[in-house]
């Protein structure tokens, strides 16, 4: 089985978010980067599949050279080799196009990634990759088992789960609890540097959108504590003061 896992290189979840250049650019100064947490689960599931039934795992990332430590972490967790597509990951379509280009003639049985990145949270790359490769895509995959050529999947839907089966190849957007979160061990860390990390040039891609600016959410307001005995006061405040009812 050949598995391609697509990973993002995103700010740590506790990072303070700020913008520069007239709110058009993320301020990366002093920010620590990690593998996207959903992508981390995709990597972990790929490694579990490799351990249980044998597979080769390639990780791919669209990014500049500064993403290589993140890529090597995926190698340390258990991927066999890596591809870095040397470009800024400008938007979902651009990224999906790059991934599809790498994947198109390589015969991957499974293309896994997080259900969304945690920086821009588009949540559509898996869908676009599936369309570009003309294979199915499923997302919010919480459980993934492979039996022969058939995948048995549980995916999260509004208020419950949906169980589906489909044949490989396909694209899956993953989330917990698809796998146990994996911490790279010493052996993995020591061998990561000797695994191949191939850098490839991006393909030309149309830009379907243009960034205008970012805006941070308004700061949190003061909190009012309401005695649980006085629910009518809460309703009144929500109606008249917060105007959300």
């Amino acid at each position: 089985m050949k598995i391609l896992v697509c990973i993002t290189h995103v700010p740590d979840t506790t990072s303070r978010i700020a913008f520069t250049d007239g709110d058009t650019k993320f301020d990366s100064n002093g920010v620590q980067y990690i593998i996207g947490p959903y992508d981390d689960y995709a990597v972990a599931r790929a490694v579990e599949l490799k351990e249980s039934q044998g597979a080769t795992i390639t990780v791919v990332n669209v990014g500049r050279v500064e993403t290589e430590p993140t890529i090597r972490k995926a190698l340390a967790i258990g991927a066999d080799d890596a591809i870095r597509i040397n470009a800024e990951p400008e938007d979902s379509y651009f990224v999906a196009k790059q991934i599809a280009n790498v994947a198109k003639d390589s015969g991957y049985d499974l293309i896994l990634m997080g259900r969304e990145s945690i920086d821009f949270n588009g949540g559509v790359v898996h869908g676009i990759v599936g369309e570009l490769l003309e294979i199915p895509s499923v997302s919010s995959v919480m459980k993934l088992d492979i039996d022969g050529n058939v995948a048995k999947i549980a995916r999260e839907i509004e208020g419950g789960k949906e169980y589906i089966e489909l044949e490989m190849p396909f694209v899956a957007g993953c989330q917990e609890p698809i796998a146990e979160w994996k911490i790279p061990n010493m052996r993995g860390i020591m061998t990561a540097r000797s695994k191949p990390l191939n850098v490839v040039d991006p393909v030309d891609t149309d830009h379907l959108d243009k960034l205008v600016r970012f805006e941070l959410p308004p700061p949190k307001g003061d909190i009012k504590m309401i005695d649980p005995e006085h629910m009518e006061e809460l309703v009144s405040l929500l109606k008249n003061e917060a105007k959300v009812l």
Binding site: G30, W181, I183, N185, M186, I189, R193
Partner: protein, 600 residues
């Protein structure tokens, strides 16, 4: 002519009489990508396995929990860091193993268990074991299949280790020793499969060391000790009753146990220091987050100067201690490399390198544990009423911190050791202390320096302040030796004063060297906060040294000699005015903005 020569310090203890080039020190900003990944693996391990179970660990209700966590750490490879690859480990240098306990330093009782196993529980075999002993035990210790403990202390022998009463008597057929005695405060005692035990053979005056498997029989133990902190760390009193130890399990040579104990404690001390730094960094981050969140009088408490003062102090002291601890670790690694290149056997080279920097190891043990205690204390204070709540994180941090000033040699013993070792080296001619001390004495009677700075360049004033601080230390050590001669050992109060000066000098210099090197790498404009922290630390180091130096002078000298020394001290500890308040505010504001201790 300058008293302090401008040469590179390559020998332990020489920092006092020589200057060090910033380019030659290791700074934590130079960790490689792999080392950073290992650091993160440790942090992830804590987040996944340890933090969610801190209460469960401390309750000790499940005796299998700690060994299970150790097993998981073993699977990740964290127990075999310093063990060579041929025995299933990774053969990493000392600085990397120190970085690992730094990363795990916020792991409360867990890091105590792990450090005891990987340090004092494993290294005696690695450094002193023969090939058969290494082949038999090291792979199991690296994997975590066997967990180990170190049995030195007894009810009547703590700091005075050689007073131990545990005996080993050779059996009639000469195949084994019968061990009898009791040991106490044995970390990991409750679950260890292997004990490094110190005992006297027959009527020996000096200890020998043994590798004792629990399965040898004749080993019983008391219930878990009830402790102030590190409540999840297994601490037992252990009894040996005719425990049969095969003769091949004698470690190294008969009568060499005390040497083993002392040398292993050197590495224990420097690693404890790095673990304390890790704890301090975590406390600072917790305190900074709380200072940002907690609102009083309509604003976050981090906006108040009184809180900013505390945050900046915690960070400056931690930064300085961290600078010194990895400078030391790297120097030990460099010494090791050079001994190996000269053809020395690796384990011997490791020991010789540790012995060479034993003074610095003791200095760092004292400093690291006292910085952690300061951070824990102020951490509680920043949390206010919540700081005293057992449901908030500072409670555990405060209780767990305290032991660090006691184990691996109390801070009092370590202070005495620093000066004792320094003077012994001077007497053996390994370090020339008297020459520079005499020069300083001459300088006292020469025309004073009117404050015209002859130095230029980066940190010229700070470097001069450091040179002067060392001169003050030399002046007082020289006078103390002349006055008390062989009886100086009885003047512990003065030795403590001297030790404090030595510690402040080493740590302040290390902070300065780190910032100087960092500026070379990143540029001055990107190191302004680090520069502030270094200056805050240096200023306070000189002030502290000045205070204890005065006490020492009052006790050593009288009349004209006293007046001359006090004038000399005034000259040597003169600092240019520096707006500490604004510097602390800049440091605190940076921490609050980053919402963490962010210097890495």
């Amino acid at each position: 002519m300058e008293t302090i020569e401008q040469t590179t310090a390559i020998m332990g203890g020489e920092f006092l009489i020589k200057e060090t080039e910033a380019s030659t020190v290791f700074i934590p900003e130079e960790w490689s990508e792999e080392q950073k990944m290992i650091f993160q693996t440790c942090k992830d391990f804590l987040a996944k396995e340890v933090y969610p179970r801190l209460d469960e660990i401390d309750s000790q209700k499940d005796p299998e929990l700690m060994p299970e966590l150790m097993g998981k750490a073993g699977k990740l490879g964290l127990l075999g860091i310093s063990i060579p690859e041929k025995w299933g480990g990774y053969g990493m240098d000392l600085n990397t193993t120190m970085m690992i306990v730094d990363a795990l330093g916020s792991g409360h009782s867990f890091v105590v268990a792990l450090s005891a196993h990987t340090g004092i529980g494993t290294l005696p075999i690695l450094y002193y074991g023969n090939e058969a002993q290494k082949d038999k035990y090291l792979p199991k210790l690296a994997s975590g299949e066997m967990k180990s403990a170190y049995c030195l202390t007894e009810p009547d022998s703590g700091s005075d280790a050689n007073a131990a009463k545990t005996r080993a008597t050779l059996s009639e057929d000469g195949t084994h020793y019968l061990m009898n005695g009791q040991k106490m405060w044995i970390t990991n005692g409750g679950f260890a499969d292997l004990f490094i035990v110190f005992a006297k053979i027959e009527d020996d005056k000096i200890l020998s060391a043994f590798i004792v498997e629990k399965s040898f029989g004749g080993i019983t133990m008391n219930e878990e000790e009830k402790k102030m902190g590190i409540k999840g760390s297994s601490t037992r009193q252990i009894f040996f009753n005719d425990c049969k130890v095969p003769v091949e399990n004698l470690l190294y040579d008969r009568g060499k146990g005390f040497k083993i104990a002392v040398n292993i404690l050197n590495v224990g001390r420097i690693k404890l220091a790095s673990s304390c730094i890790g704890g301090s960094k975590d406390i600072i981050t917790t305190a900074v987050k709380y200072a940002n969140e907690r609102k009083q009088f309509g604003k976050s408490i981090g906006e108040f100067g009184a809180i900013k003062y505390k945050l900046a102090e915690m960070a400056s002291r931690t930064f300085a201690s961290e600078s010194a601890v990895y400078r030391t670790g790297s120097n030990i690694d460099k010494a090791y490399d050079s001994y190996v290149n000269e053809g020395m056997e690796p384990a011997q080279a490791r020991l010789k390198a540790l012995e060479e920097f034993a003074i610095e190891c003791a200095i760092m043990k004292v400093h690291g544990s006292e910085v952690l205690d300061y951070c824990a204390d102020e951490g509680v204070q920043i949390f206010g009423g919540m700081g005293y709540s057992a449901d908030a994180p500072m409670d555990r941090a405060y209780r767990d911190s305290r032991i660090n000033r006691i184990f691996e040699g109390t801070n009092e013993i370590n202070r005495l050791l620093t000066i004792d070792m320094l003077l012994k080296r001077a007497m053996k001619g390994r370090i020339d202390l008297m020459g520079p001390a005499m020069k300083v004495a001459k300088e006292l009677t020469s025309i004073p320096d009117f404050g015209v700075s002859e130095d230029e360049g980066l940190f010229a004033k700070e470097k001069k302040a450091l040179r002067n601080l060392k001169k003050a230390g030399l002046m007082i050590s020289g006078a103390a030796v002349q006055k008390f001669m062989q009886k100086l050992a009885d003047e512990q109060e003065i030795l403590m004063n001297l030790a404090d000066m030595l510690i402040e000098g080493y740590v302040a210099e290390s902070a300065l060297l780190r910032v100087e090197k960092l500026i070379g790498l990143r540029g001055e404009e990107n190191c302004s906060i680090q520069t502030d922290m270094m200056r805050i630390y240096l200023y306070e180091a000189v002030e502290n040294a000045s205070r204890v130096a005065k006490e020492a002078i009052y006790a050593i000298a009288e009349g004209d000699e006293q007046r001359m020394m006090l004038m000399g001290l005034k000259r040597f500890t003169k600092m240019e005015p520096f707006n500490l308040k604004e510097a602390r505010r800049r440091v605190a504001n940076h921490l609050l903005d980053k919402n963490e201790y962010s210097f890495k």
